[in-house]
């Protein structure tokens, strides 16, 4: 049984840049423990000799010709910006990244 402690949940949430409210923490703690217990089943198989699959198709080294093409105009790139200043996306200062 995989138990998710409050401390571990907060650590993972911090890694994912998720701020969780207290009521969410309450609810998610139990649900995540259940989900992790279910997915931990993968550990039952001995697969030390098996290669991992990261991609279902056998394609390697897909190249395109390196030719310049028009890119998105600045106005369009910024069209959905929550906040902008000149040709920049604007964000609040401070805080760690």
């Amino acid at each position: 049984m995989t138990e998710i402690s409050r401390e571990l949940l907060l650590h993972v949430a911090r890694l994912a840049r998720l701020e969780l409210r207290d009521d969410e923490l309450e609810r998610l703690e139990g649900q995540l423990s259940d989900i992790l217990a279910a997915v931990s089943k993968v550990a039952e198989l001995d697969l030390s000799d098996v290669q991992p699959t990261s991609h279902p198709l056998d394609v390697v080294n897909v190249w395109e010709a390196d030719e310049p093409r028009p890119c998105l105009p600045v106005e369009e790139a910024l069209a959905n910006a929550p906040q902008r200043e000149g040709n920049y996306f604007k964000v609040p200062p401070g805080g760690s990244p």
Binding site: A13, L32, V42, L45, P82, V91
Partner: protein, 468 residues
């Protein structure tokens, strides 16, 4: 009078080509049907004005980026987002003259099996509005069944095209991984995501697939695709049909579903197919755990882009940059994306990576091999698409694992990158039952051929009884 409930895309094209109806009349007929039935069914998140032209209308799942048309992926975090470019599939539809009717409802970021995870409220099943249409592409499937679109595009990561098609009683194809471009699609789990068609019959489904399939320089995972052959009437002599025991006898499969699929398998034999049993011993029991590690892991990475900086929602409550990220993501994401981001981040984090994500990728190899072995003996595999018929709204929302089990039978072949076609095969308790045809990679034409023969033999009426 245009009967949108019965009109197929092929039928619409014939009427347009013969100038029996105009493009404007056809588009207006769908808008009228939407006005009449969508307030109850809530298939659409956005309805478009007629862009003009004489092409067939189409509905697009709201994870498909459309230039100048809002694209929310069913999430509050993308509320108000209007793409400045078309996804490749939207561009291909446009180039073919297809006209977008609107954007259809989906579970948030395509994460779910009922549309109940949509931030904009659930869609309802046209056969019984107290029930879900399936998900995540429930909006597209319900729209096609309710005559609110002749056909539609969906997207499928672990069953999001096939399962809603099964629950709504229409035809849905999850194509082979790599056959359809994902450029401009809201990404969920990139080693699994595929775009595919939803239609009233197999010929329409094949035709729409032929429009969207093919290599795209903007998506390096796409490959050249065999020419699509629209299925014609014929028998199934010489076709080898495998019935995987674990996917047909699983205890989660309802009796009515099992019975309808069994009858359909008998029909395949009557059509001349050689039917035999086979086994995929680890694909079902380990498919779910494997999927629910790999998909969340990739989702946690893909959803990192929703940070409030360049597009979409930004929390007004932040005083510094870190708070901008954390508040935006807390306020913008619903429960299911949060759960998956957390599971995925955990599975990828230092100290746990090998045990979870690394091990799941190895399980994926095992599942792919089991399927490859089955295809040494068989041309197609058949299973129920969904273990149950459409379930009641609210029936599985409080228990994430119960909801996850909806995709028990669609997940294994998705993990192996295989194409799967849902074909309606009967009713159970007045609700549609879907049969899943699985083929080897790039065997779409075989699936269309078998699916077409089967749908002719079954004679399923795709119009929901209460709307006839």
């Amino acid at each position: 009078m245009i009967d949108t409930l019965r009109l197929t895309a092929e039928g619409a094209k014939e009427l347009l080509d013969a100038k029996e109806i105009s493009g404007a009349e056809l588009f207006a007929a769908y808008l009228e049907a939407i006005g009449e039935r969508d307030p109850e069914l809530h298939c659409y998140l956005h309805v478009c004005e007629d862009p003009g032209g004489e092409g067939i209308p189409i509905a697009l799942k709201d994870v498909i980026g459309t230039k100048g048309i809002p694209t929310t992926a069913g999430s509050k975090i993308l509320q108000g987002y209007v793409p400045v470019y078309d996804s490749t599939v939207a561009a291909r539809c446009k180039a073919h003259g297809l006209r977008t009717l609107g954007k259809t409802n989906t579970d948030e970021f395509a994460m779910g099996s009922s549309t109940e995870n949509s931030a904009y409220g659930p869609s309802r099943n046209p056969w019984d509005p107290s029930r879900v249409p399936g998900g995540s592409g429930g909006g597209s499937a319900a729209a096609v069944s309710a005559g609110l679109a002749p056909w539609a595009l969906g997207s499928d990561t672990g069953g999001s095209i096939k399962q809603p098609s099964a629950l709504c009683g229409n035809v849905g194809l999850r194509p082979t991984y790599g056959t359809v471009s994902r450029y401009g699609i809201v990404a969920f789990a990139s080693s699994l995501d595929q775009v595919g068609p939803v239609a009233k019959n197999v010929r329409d489904c094949a035709y729409l697939y032929s429009i969207i399939a093919g290599r795209d320089p903007c998506d390096s995972t796409t490959v050249e695709v065999p020419e699509v052959v629209l299925p014609e009437d014929g028998d199934l002599k010489g076709l080898r049909v495998g019935v995987p025991r674990e996917l047909n006898e699983h205890e989660a499969i309802e009796l009515g579903v099992r019975a309808a699929v069994r009858l359909a398998i008998d029909l395949l034999a009557q059509l001349g197919a050689d039917v035999g049993e086979c086994s995929l011993p680890r694909s079902v029991d380990f498919g779910m755990p494997c999927y629910y590690l790999i998909a969340p892991a990739e989702a946690s990475s893909n959803l990192a882009r929703y940070d409030g900086v360049r597009f979409g929602y930004r929390s007004p409550n932040a005083t510094d940059r870190l708070e901008m990220y954390t508040h935006t993501r807390d306020e913008g994401f619903g429960d299911e994306p949060k759960r998956r981001i957390l599971v995925g981040t955990y599975a990828l984090s230092a100290g746990y990576y090998d045990a979870y994500y690394g091990q799941a990728q190895k399980v994926r190899t095992v599942i792919a091999r089991e399927h490859a072995q089955a295809f040494e003996r068989f041309d197609v595999l058949v299973t129920p698409t969904s273990p149950t018929v459409a379930f009641e709204l609210g029936g599985r929302t409080s228990d994430p694992l119960a909801m996850y089990a909806s995709d028990l039978l669609t997940i294994p072949s998705c993990m192996a990158g295989l194409p799967g076609l849902n074909v309606p095969c009967g009713l159970s308790g007045g609700l549609p039952v879907g049969l899943q045809l699985i083929g080897p990679q790039f065997a779409e034409n075989t699936l269309f051929h078998v699916g077409h023969a089967l749908e002719r033999a079954v004679g399923f009426d795709v119009v929901p009884e209460r709307l006839r």
